[in-house]
């Protein structure tokens, strides 16, 4: 188990190197690059922020894109708080390590004790390596000079694609991704930098809305069980009402 956790930590920690290079290539200083890895410590948000800053976005739209990508960590935290049952005093410190990889390792453990060990070992090894490799990447990029010649500007989009690919399981996710690509590229020339990404994010609620309408229509005709519906509630009426209320 510890070897699993270390394995995840080492593999992903190394991609901190790609972040350091990308960030320095986007015009951030070594100090700014390291501050991001030390204090933000959630890779996709960091890549998004430096990408938006490189594109000339204003600081708040750039940060908004990074923030929305980080929202998923709240849902990881929710799972982990039940699983790890951390004392309240520890939570503000543990929160910094609530990311994709620590969650994946913790959830895979059979007992609370091994989940806690998995969380700690993964979090610590990832944190150390992510920051060390960020520093090396940033210093290396400064030494290289023009990182584009080495194709290093392709590392950012490749990281995003690698994170995205496992999420594209059903038609819903693919539809969201397709709409977001079209919106993100199509609006790029007409809206201020950083804003098209935020508009593209609306693909998620739009597709959810259409999906909700469809399953509502289906439910009227067959009145069958739906996997989203709470099993012990009145299944026919409630999910639709809940969805309207949320919007």
């Amino acid at each position: 188990m510890v070897r699993d956790a270390l394995g995840v930590g080492v593999a992903v920690g190394l991609s901190g190197f790609a972040f350091g290079v990308t960030s320095a290539g986007s015009g951030l200083t070594v100090l700014q690059t390291c501050a991001l890895s030390l204090l933000v410590f959630t890779g996709a948000s960091q890549f998004a922020l430096v990408g938006a800053l490189a594109g000339g976005g204003n600081p708040f739209t750039a940060a908004a894109g990074a923030f929305f990508l980080g929202v998923r960590n709240a849902f990881y935290g929710l799972r982990l708080s039940q699983l790890l049952a951390l004392p309240r005093a520890v939570r503000p410190f543990a929160a910094h390590w609530v990311i994709d990889e620590t969650t994946a390792v913790s959830l895979a453990q059979p007992t609370r004790r091994s989940a806690r060990i998995g969380f700690t070992v993964t979090g610590l090894s990832l944190y150390l390596l992510w920051n060390l490799t960020t520093l090396l990447g940033a210093l290396g990029a400064e030494a290289i000079g023009d990182t584009d010649v080495w194709g290093l500007d392709a590392a950012g989009p490749a990281v995003f694609l690698a994170l995205l690919a496992p999420m594209l399981r059903t038609t819903t996710e693919r539809a969201v991704a397709a709409i977001a690509v079209v919106a993100g590229l199509g609006l790029l020339p007409v809206l201020p930098a950083g804003v098209p990404v935020l508009v593209a994010a609306l693909a998620a609620p739009v597709v959810l809305y259409v999906e909700g309408r469809r399953s509502a229509a289906k439910r009227v005709t067959e009145a069958g069980a739906d996997d989203d519906a709470p099993p012990n509630e009145a299944q026919n009426a409630r999910p639709d009402e809940a969805q309207k209320g949320d919007r």
């Binding site: 594109g55 910094h96 995205l164 809940a242």
Partner: protein
């Protein structure tokens, strides 16, 4: 200065959402629609960011060596290559195409 403002806002925002997950009562985020939204939001953002960083320079759409690099990464992903191999494929192919065409 703008960069430091962006860093500061991102640091605070990203930390607070992480902490929120550990502190809020279980029921608050457990509604199906909220969970679905949380799962789909990264899909939309990552897709848009991938496309923009691969096919645009600032606010101008352009097709260059990076597109070939991204295609290489996609092939590597389809072959279930490890994360680092995917990134390496994108970098090497982009550099190669640039060296050949530049």
């Amino acid at each position: 200065m703008n960069i430091w403002i962006a860093i500061g806002v991102t640091v605070v925002g990203c930390y607070l959402v992480k902490l929120a997950g550990l502190l809020v009562p279980v029921g608050a985020l457990e509604r199906p629609l909220v969970k679905r939204m949380a799962a789909l939001l990264p899909v939309a953002l990552l897709a848009a960011l991938t496309a923009q960083q691969a096919f645009a320079d600032g606010r101008v759409l352009q097709l260059d060596a990076k597109a070939a690099g991204l295609a290489a990464a996609a092939v590597a992903l389809l072959m279930r290559a490890p994360f680092l191999v995917v990134i390496a494929a994108a970098v090497v192919v982009t550099a190669g195409v640039r060296a050949l065409t530049g």
